[in-house]
Amino acid sequence: MAEILDTFFNIEILLRVLPFMLEGLGMTLLLCAITIPIGLAGGLAVAWVWSLKKRYVNWALVVYVDFFRAFPPLVLLIFVYFGLPFVGLDLSPFAAVAIAFLLNASSYYGEIFRAGIESVPHGQWEAARASGLSRFQTMLYVVLPQATRNVLPDLIGNTLEVVKLTTIASVVALGELLHAARLAQSLVYNPTPIVAAALIYLAFLWPAVRLLRHFEHRHLVAR
């Protein structure tokens, strides 16, 4: 027992690496603050363009969404960061992460928003347009609030995935939490930092998962 505690929950080691890991946590939070809004905004843009129902544009949109949902995000980030300089686009690590997540997350968020928008009855559009609201105003004030509410569980679920996906930023030398933990592990020859990282992730994601449960439950009840 003492051996297990010493190996996986070594307090002494934990205290030594904690400042370093908190730096990693800070980077993870910063990455979330960048990638989640970018993904949401991109997804809204995808769904908005979709709602215009231009046939050829929507074909292109299907290709875009399908491609980036199928493409491995890690490879995508590597392509963006290490590939684009060859065509003259030198990107900072943050810019590369932003672009990779824009492409990847907007595809997922876009599909979710699209489903939400389609769940709003057509009569809502008609009432709003008949009263003189523009397409954009109708979307903003009438359709999106209802659409978002209808797909809130999916939005939260996808956001959890985005948070976990920020670990790939370590390949472009952004020392996020898991990267910091692995580095610490290799320095102290002990897996305690990894366990600590896992616990930190849990502490942040667990409440979100509970929230998701709450909304899913409410959703089922509402039906």
């Binding site: 009569g123 809502q124 008949a130 609201l133 004030y141 209802q146």
Partner: protein
């Protein structure tokens, strides 16, 4: 003073040569109709006769294939027409109410006032409350649609149309989705509106209301206007056999 003298001759809404097809189906096949100020025009006809499409072409919620739609003297089919501005003159009331479920009654009524007419919140709410008072729902301004009865929801729908200060209000089967005991409250509001001088076009099957309140009844079938005239003539002594058959069928149905 006869009815004809009381109604000024210049129409508020005029449809000329209106055509509309869905694929190979001709829904409107050459409609000419002029609605004068303060007039209540009641449109009847079998389902699929094009009544609702006719109404929805008046504010271009449905795009006519050809023809003119003249609102308050301007052809709104002309390119460059500011449709959102025109729609401030044309209120519309829907069969299924189409209230915004995430907004209160007052929110429903004031949305377009704020976002289209550019009123500040205070001014919008002042007008919104007046409109809700007009339909007898002052005490419900903070209620969400799902807390209102069907009749109350439809009256909010009417208030939403009235708040914009329209010159004409279009009613698309306003009582068809209501339980029978709730129909009366909506018709009462419409009757008051008529008495206050509002110009109205009503698609409905409420013949008793048409007899009591309509200035003119239009009978449509197959995308055309078959016959029109004062309610007494259309219901009591129709010229066309088709009108007669429809009216007697409908009267029996409503027993």
């Amino acid at each position: 003073m006869t009815v004809a003298e009381a109604i000024p001759p210049v129409p508020i809404l005029e449809l000329a040569g209106l055509h509309k097809s869905f694929g190979s189906l001709k829904v409107l096949d050459g409609i000419d109709l002029a609605v004068r100020p303060r007039e209540l025009v009641f449109v009847i006809g079998p389902s699929g006769s094009g009544k609702s499409t006719l109404l929805r072409c008046c504010n271009r919620l449905e795009e006519p294939d050809s023809g003119a739609v003249i609102v308050d003297g301007a052809d709104i089919m002309r390119p460059g027409t500011d449709l959102n501005a025109v729609r401030q003159k044309i209120g519309m009331v829907f069969q299924s109410f189409n209230l915004y479920p995430h907004m209160t009654a007052l929110g429903n009524v004031t949305l377009a006032l704020c976002k289209v007419q550019g009123l500040d919140r205070e001014a919008a709410e002042l007008r919104g409350r007046a409109a809700l008072a007009q339909v007898g729902l002052s005490d419900k301004e903070a209620s969400y649609p799902n807390a209102l009865s069907g009749g109350q929801q439809q009256r909010v729908g009417i208030a939403r149309a009235l708040a914009l200060g329209p010159k004409i209000v279009l009613f698309d089967e306003p009582t068809s989705a209501l339980d029978p005991e709730l129909v009366g409250s909506v018709l009462a509001v419409m009757r008051e509106l008529k008495a206050a001088g509002m110009t109205m076009v009503v698609v409905s099957h409420e013949l008793a209301f048409a007899r009591a309140a309509a200035d003119r009844v239009v009978f449509m079938e197959g995308g055309r206007i078959v016959e029109q005239g004062p309610p007494a003539a259309i219901f009591g002594n129709p010229r066309e056999a088709r009108t007669q058959a429809f009216v007697s069928r409908l009267s029996q149905g409503h027993g």
